[in-house]
């Protein structure tokens, strides 16, 4: 599936994550800011990557600002951003 336009999902509130997706010529690239980057940065990126792969999304730049989101929230926000980015609405 191809991202047609930039999209975003989530909030800057505690326990949430703000996700921005941009069409990208290269492979998937993730830029992450997180209050728990040192401890959980790798895991957060893995959840985002797995979710993108599950939805067959390639060639996307992900910018994410994490405020302590659990995996289910990260997945949900990535899915929402994908849905918004692949739609022409």
């Amino acid at each position: 599936m191809k991202l047609l336009k930039p999209s975003k999902a989530g909030t800057y509130e505690s326990n949430d994550i703000y996700i921005m997706l941009f069409p990208n010529d290269d492979e998937i690239r993730i830029e992450l800011e997180s209050i728990v980057l040192e401890t959980y940065g790798k895991q957060i990126k893995k959840v985002m990557m797995d979710t993108l792969n599950d939805h067959n999304i390639e060639n996307v730049l992900v910018k994410a600002i994490d405020k302590g989101a659990l995996d289910y929230t990260i997945r949900a926000r990535v899915i929402t951003a994908i849905n918004r980015g692949v739609s022409n609405d």
């Binding site: 999902a9 659990l70 929230t73």
Partner: protein, 284 residues
Amino acid sequence: MTNIRRSMLFIPGNNPGMLQSADVFDSDSVIFDLEDSVAIDEKASARILVKELFSSIEMSCERIVRINPYDTPFYASDIEAMRQLDIDMILLPKASVESIKDLDQKLIKTNINIMVLIETALGVEQVFEILNASKRCKGLMLGGEDLCVDLNCIRTKKGDELLYARYRVVNASKALSKFAIDTPYTDTFDEEGLKNDTLFSKSIGFDGKASINPRQVHCINEIFNPTLDEINHAKRVLEAKEMALKEGKGVFSLDGKMVDLPIIKRAEKVIELALKLGLMKGTS
């Protein structure tokens, strides 16, 4: 999970912090809200978040999802997403006979039950027919705020404007052996008001009360718990009944008052609830 429903706490469906804590507030049931607490632009986002929550976090409370109303563009997508999940009930807002029949059809091949939100003047007048329109429908909640808008009256703390609706929905639900939950008390800083409103709810037959803030849950639970006096009296009624049976008496009295079947049934209900809530220790 038991069928005790003293408290039902609304949690906004697009708030991860509240969602993942839903089980810790001691509410018997939690209503994950996709309707009023979610902005129009975030409806799909909340639906996905709630879906992911249930796919990853286990909860011991009763799980209810309030979907969007039948006449909105979000209704069908909400049901489609929720019918795949391990939830107990769907709360149908602005319920009508037509909408509950439609929801019932859409839940075929699932174990999900229905609870209706009675919050229109027509809904109050048709409450018996609405409750009776689906075998999945286990009970109702009264929605005071929307009802007052429909009635074109001001919602007050005293609640006189809701008296007719409260009595009517309780009677209809009890006539059909279904549960009835009262509308939330909306001033979350007025503890005394919440207490009085909840005492009134209990006094006219509601089984529980909705809450819109976790700080309301404890007060509601306490009021809907059987009191120590009620438990002790119920135990004495059942002991007296056993004694009368042994002595071959059809009718008996306790403290000079005749005990008949309704009193025995009430005593049994009190003891059943007290046992489920673990309130029986040290009551003799």
